[in-house]
Amino acid sequence: MASFDVVAEAGEARRGQLQINDRTLETPHLFPVINFYGGGNEGALFGGGVHRTIKEFLAHDNEVTGGEDYSDLFNGVMTSISSLADYGIREKKLEWYLDNEIREWDCFSDYDGMIFADSGGYKILKQGGLEGEDFEKDIDQDKALDIQLDLGPDIVVNLDHPIHPDDEFEERIEKMEQTAANAARFAERRDEVNGACYLTVHGYYEAMLERSFDLIEDELAEPIPEAFDGIALGSLVPRKDNVEVLVEAVSDCKREMQQRGYDDLPLHVLGISGNAMPLLVAVGADTFDSASYLHQAINGKYCVNLFETVPIDEANFDDCECRICNDDFHRARMRNEMDDLYQKDILGSVAAHNLAVQQRELRKFRQLIAEADKERVAEYLEEAVKDQKGFRKFAYQLINERINPYFEETDTTYA
């Protein structure tokens, strides 16, 4: 049903194929976050604004795509049950949404990518459940999985209780214990899932991750690799701007997986993308998810590369190699040169471009890993960060210590 094959490695970076039923995904991969239900009806693709435009890209709406096929941007997408109630819907509408799986609706029937259904633990726990205009639903592991399964997902993940850097020790332990209990309940129902089951773990360094794994193992009736098809590392969003912490967390999680013999499982990093991605791939992360492409567009920001954005009216499309920027239709949209354009039309193209930029970097990385040459990987990372003053020291440290030391012992004898 679900398998993950590593097809090439360069240092700790790996290229893989995630196979779930008849769908295959090349990793490393970024799952763009899609809000499939944005408060609207089917005719409006259940939503409005840029969210709707993105879904129109995904559903090949020629008026939005300009007739080109951009489905490769959406080979695998992430959605969350908490997004169902983002627009204050009534309970009747929620039920209507959940009556059909996503691909059973006409508008998404052609969509053939993978759907990763997150439980949305962070949001749900913060709000205390799922809350609409006329309903409040407490969400526990069973209810979360019921809703996830109603979406018709390829990957589901247990309801987790994310930790926070400021949590007191006892609070953190409590959350980890709740996550472990949820994971155990989730595992009991794994037969209901026609796809891959991912397990969430939480922690910023080895000792925390060890505790997280230990607590889960204690709760589970079977070894983790028998109950789960992948590991999802969570709780990193509050530390998303601290690349040192991210690298430590991912690489310690990998080490913990190796020591426990789970190394064959794919490692997903929840909620992180952008400039940290190449470094996290370099220490062994396989997949990511993020809504940053969309939020940047909503804020009028056009990605120049993984590190820089400029206001859309300052963007130079000639400098970009992505298909969106090389398509006159989208250039005209992004420049607001067409009649009757709404913001969503302009920003939808920008969001697609932003996503294309992030995925382009991962595609490059996949090619480099295929060459199985860690020196090339180091060169790529070095080039990518060379003008990022604050960031590059972490990248150089990682290259130096983990990939290809700059000053080898043998290198230091004078001519």
């Binding site: 922690g203 080895e206 130096n400 210590e401 230091t412």
Partner: protein, 509 residues
């Protein structure tokens, strides 16, 4: 009508000759000229006669000068060189600040003797000095000898202020004698340098005998001992960095350097304030010009580093003291690339280990001074017979003493000082003990406080056990540590292991 701008030649000569402030610059010019003449040996002698007049004699075995070369030697702005030192034809004009210049040079079977009388006096009389030329045939090997009589420069050339020590360090610091070119091969040739001062100037040592190589102190990467960071030293091998400018021009930056502690750095030559000469130097012709310590970022202290980054695309002011093209993209590209390179050095595992070791040793040193301060505190505590609260925290501690009544052992706070690393002295059944009093034990370790003087831990609760496990795995202040909470103790150290009991009050009160 068109008019040609005029040059007042006399004023120009005066101006250029005066531009050299440091009398030692005459040595720099002489060494560079000899090197460019292919010399393998250059001898500089500075004499002073009974009337206090100075004579410089510079001899080399270079290829000598023909009449054209000699013209360039005396002319202004008419050099035979293209971009090396002296291409402006300014340097030798420093000799004009003298009573007489005599040049004797042999090249291709011709010996030329040339004399210029009273150049400085004539220039100041608004007269352009002239020089004589006398050619004879010679079968001698090529050579040049320059005598500058009655030389004065800058604030007045006072040889009595010169010493061998000063000159030697100047040569290694500011001239081609301190060149890093030898690391990079290309056009480098070795040149022996001798400098002799007349005994009336400095009779403390024999003449200077050196060469044109800047040598770093020997490597000492992993010395053994308790306080060794100061001796640590690592060389960073020569690297050629290439940068492509927007207009496709390529620049080459040749970097070589070392990182080292104080003892290692003290083995380097010194010119000026020792501490002010470390860091990252931009160089041209492999001679250091200006420091660019920004390349190592604010996280690192410049004095650990001594790197020389040479780039021939740097342009210098006439007296070579400053970089002239700082506002251009060439300088920007050089410094950008240098920033990247130095980031790599700063992320080198050895460097990080060196900094860590240095930090640990500094902590160990502070422990030694802490020891005597604690003894004083104990004496004071004994003298006054226990705690006399002076701040709220001390009152809390006193209450704690009260709470502890009925505990299996006597444990009384005898002294408490909030800001001290060992913040409490406790009176126990076994006598007075130094204690760390913490709300959470894990907070104590976050601050990396040394354990040397701590006999007891007293905390409300243990705190973040994961954070403590992390410390246990990575070592604490360079030594192994174990937290054994089943026995309520912390063990620390390798050979001289120390066990520190932990009292967690939350469970007991």
């Amino acid at each position: 009508m068109h008019k040609t701008p005029q040059v007042n030649e006399v004023n120009e000569f005066i101006e250029i000759a005066s531009d050299f402030e440091d009398p030692l610059e005459v040595i720099r010019e002489a060494l560079s000229n000899s090197y460019d003449a292919g010399a393998t040996q250059v001898d500089i002698k500075i004499e002073q006669d009974a009337e206090g007049r100075n004579t410089l004699i510079i001899k080399d075995d270079g290829h000598g000068m023909d009449e054209d070369d000699l013209s360039s030697f005396f002319d202004l702005g008419n050099s035979n060189k293209d971009d090396a030192i002296g291409y402006k034809g300014h340097g030798t004009k420093i000799y004009y600040k003298s009573d007489k210049i005599r040049v004797e040079t042999v090249t291709d079977g011709t010996r030329i003797e040339s004399v210029m009388d009273q150049p400085w006096a004539k220039l100041n009389d608004r007269e352009l000095p002239t020089y004589s030329i006398e050619e004879t045939e010679s079968d001698e090997p090529s050579r040049t000898r320059i005598e500058v009589h009655g030389f004065r420069a800058g604030q007045g050339f006072d040889p009595r202020k010169l010493t061998y020590n000063k000159i030697e360090h100047y040569i290694k610091w500011k001239t081609i004698g301190g060149s890093t070119a030898w690391h990079f091969g290309d056009d480098f040739h070795e040149m022996d340098i001798n400098v002799e001062l007349s005994p009336t100037i400095d009779d403390t040592q024999d003449q200077i005998e050196t060469d044109n190589r800047l040598q770093f102190p020997p490597e000492n990467r992993d010395p053994e001992g308790e306080f060794v960071a100061e001796e640590m030293c690592k060389h960073y091998p020569p690297r050629e960095l290439t940068v492509t400018l927007d207009d496709s021009r390529e620049l080459t930056i040749e970097v070589v350097g070392m990182v080292g502690g104080k003892e290692a750095r003290n083995k380097l030559p010194t010119y000026g304030k020792h501490s002010a000469q470390f860091g990252i130097w931009l160089a041209k012709d492999h001679i250091k010009v200006e420091r660019y310590n920004d390349a190592i970022g604010a996280d690192n202290e410049f004095f650990h580093f001594f790197f020389i980054a040479n780039c021939q695309d740097l342009e210098l002011s006439a007296n070579r003291e400053k970089i002239r093209n700082k506002s251009g993209d060439v300088y920007q590209s050089i410094t950008d690339e240098l920033n990247r390179y130095m980031t790599k050095v700063c992320q080198d595992s050895w460097y990080r280990n060196y900094i860590e070791r240095r930090k640990l040793e500094n902590k160990q040193r502070s422990i030694q001074s802490q020891g005597s301060s604690l003894e004083e505190r104990l004496q004071h505590t004994k003298d006054q017979g226990g705690l006399s609260p002076s701040n709220p925290a001390e009152v809390i501690a006193a209450l704690e003493r009260y709470s502890a009544n009925g505990s299996p052992e006597t444990l009384e706070i005898a002294d408490f000082r909030l800001d001290e690393e060992v913040n409490a002295i406790v009176d126990t059944d076994e006598g007075y003990k130094n204690a760390a009093l913490q709300v959470k034990l894990s907070d104590f370790f976050e601050n990396e406080t040394p354990l040397t003087h701590i006999d007891r831990f007293i905390c409300w609760k243990l705190g973040d056990l994961d954070a403590l496990t992390k410390i246990e795995r990575s070592s604490y202040l360079g030594k192994p540590i174990r937290f054994d909470f089943s026995n309520n103790e912390v063990t620390y150290g390798d050979e001289n292991k120390k066990t520190i009991p932990v009292l967690e009050l939350a469970d007991k009160v």
